[in-house]
Point group: C2
Chain length 475, copies 2
Amino acid sequence: MATLPDKRTDFIEWYLAVVETAELSDKRYPVKGMNIWTPYGFRARRNLDRILIREIEATGSEAVEFPALIPQTEFAKEKEHIQGFDAQVYWVTKGGSTDLDVPLVLRPTSETAMYPVFAVWVRSHRDLPMNLYQIVNTFRYETKTTRPFIRVREIHFFEEHTCQVDEDAATARVRSNLDAFGRMAAAFGLPYVAVRRPEWDKFAGAYYSIALDIPVGAARTLQIGSVHHYRENFSRPYEIRYEAADGGSRYAHQTTFGLSERLLGAVLAVHGDAKGAVFPREVAPYEVVVVPILSATSGDAPMRAATEIVERLTRQGLRVHLDDRDDRPGAKYYYWETRGVPLRLDVGARESSARTASATDRLGTRRTVSLDALETEVEGALTAFDQALLAKARHEFAASFELASTLDQLKESQHVRQLAWCGSEACGHAIEHAIDGSLLGVPEGPPPLDAPLPAECIVCGQRPGVRWALAARPL
Amino acid sequence: MATLPDKRTDFIEWYLAVVETAELSDKRYPVKGMNIWTPYGFRARRNLDRILIREIEATGSEAVEFPALIPQTEFAKEKEHIQGFDAQVYWVTKGGSTDLDVPLVLRPTSETAMYPVFAVWVRSHRDLPMNLYQIVNTFRYETKTTRPFIRVREIHFFEEHTCQVDEDAATARVRSNLDAFGRMAAAFGLPYVAVRRPEWDKFAGAYYSIALDIPVGAARTLQIGSVHHYRENFSRPYEIRYEAADGGSRYAHQTTFGLSERLLGAVLAVHGDAKGAVFPREVAPYEVVVVPILSATSGDAPMRAATEIVERLTRQGLRVHLDDRDDRPGAKYYYWETRGVPLRLDVGARESSARTASATDRLGTRRTVSLDALETEVEGALTAFDQALLAKARHEFAASFELASTLDQLKESQHVRQLAWCGSEACGHAIEHAIDGSLLGVPEGPPPLDAPLPAECIVCGQRPGVRWALAARPL
């Protein structure tokens, strides 16, 4: 039983070891940065998708799927966008032994695949709002070091693209997306901060970008999603126009909402511990594992009880796994701990004759559950586990931020810094230079730390327009 | 309301019109043969996937996902396989502005992506059987005419790949797959025939191939899936070996099972009629549509009743849609008929005051359902609809075959021909030449038509090895 690297001091090494030990992803595929979703990892991904689908469809968005290949001619229409992605797209240049007349891009994101068709679909104000999403894989020729789930070259991706009647309606859609993300994050047990990125760091082609960031490791952050307001930046080059109620012709205002498998990386990064992965129940490949403990004298009563438990909980709609492998109980406990299963139920001779099971959750809380009240007691144990996990995550989240009132504090902090900024690009770059990192931007709503806003910018000391901002080194 | 082309005389034109009228797929994407899954089409696809997942997982198969890009070096390892696909693969040759050292193939199927990794995963007989499946998109540079769902260049694809201890175990897996397909086909209401393809028409690299065929149009057939036994044909070049219980090193025997969005095309082709699409309930985007019928004197009682119906049926787990658009009832009836919804419930003033709804299924059967017994009566109506649809499909299936006892009958038949064949390649090609089509092969189990097997081959008149075979022009 190998010991994992220390999460605090060697975050990335710890993270890589957690993913590998839990067998969530296999990186032995012969293309760098393109990993295999193993059976166990795929179960987690399916749960991730289910949560995303449930919450986005609750807001009236509908699923579609556009092709993976985009003609060069369409890809090149919005200048900033093409510049933003040009260096990191894969090109399909041949079909069989024939050179293609028009080279095709493997989608890095789907604006340029969808919007030529949106121009056909959107005709009248009665077609709006049009809220469509897809869950597909996207491709980026990453030059940075790849990491499972966090930075890969084939990305499991969620993207919503909407068309709205005007800027206000698009702003309202951005709000609705942020609310939906709040509900998704609750299922993942992930505290986060929504931050409006500075001008120089917004998405290629966006009017503005709101990123969803979480603190990870020491003073690092990870962007786990984003919501963008495009105004008319894409609808003009792609000619997405509609006939308004007054008969006039208007360009649609557009928004997008992007998430990815990185959410799974975030779940591992935030909840994982010295023993390995820890999954909140909604994402867990199995919510419950049942381990029958057999001995020379136990007979088959523990196995019969274990089977009954699995059947009853499965009927209840839970994801349950019976570990009936021929192996020592201790080895099984270790195995399921590294894999992050929320609740383990052990049944030996004593338990089966008392019609009970011994329940241990992934945070170490033990209790005895009675088979007579199995369903309610397991439900109670899982709910208590999720609450404890969220409380722990919230505590660590709050402890990740630090106020920086001076440039020296800014430089020396080992946390994500909360600071006062005048909003100017010059001061923004000075902050980034000071920490060798990024100005994440201005929090939407209250900042992580509740403190009185200083009167002056941390860099220039000027007063006008001072606001809270966050700064850190993104992972 | 445009009339559709005649299904019997202009099958393909009829099919294309059904897909377009029902708005299941949009072919206005600017890459030929790569179509868009519309919201309505995507709902059908999701149901298709759900049925496949349910039935394959019931046989102990687990979901994985391998990357979409395959290095040329791995792709080229099995010679027949590469020859079979070489002319129809897309090549990725550039990342950003860099030429890739090793060109990458966009998977046309995943043998060559998976098997180098299977060689690492399979170590011992305890790792076997290994039954893994994935649902992904595959890519083929088709040179034939493309058709929505039936022949496309980006294909929504199901593929199971298994490793077994020996040939018998692999044969048993082939059987298990055929049984699983039987359960899937029942959900789709699709009668079919499993046919062992002749040697010259098997899958590239297979030991043998069993195709799943359905009759469509006049004397045509459509292959809707296949199960292959690979023996050691791939495990040898990819070195998939395991340590047997006796300590020896053996090559795994492999099987695959492939299905695709073509199943959706088959559902449309088989069940569709002069009015448009007809969906069996399990595949239907919506099982029930509710249409409130409002008039100047109706008040809001019909709308309240319609809303109650939608809420109750949704709670019951049904896929229900409320059509509250501001449009004439007749226009709505037509709209949902072309889209193939199994059951429509209309509620006007008379129905709402009587606490009833008027139910019309897609085959035209009408009944009145009482809101007091809504759930059971709707369930009963849907079950009766599915049974009637299957009976109709079975009748048409049986009528699609014809016995051919002479070469003249073989040539003149306007059906799928059932004939006696000696098994030789020469006679097989003579049959294909005679009908300008294909010898589909030998049915697994009883042939479609129950008749005494002739003593002699229809071509050479020889006796040894005579068996039933089927011949037709594949679509």
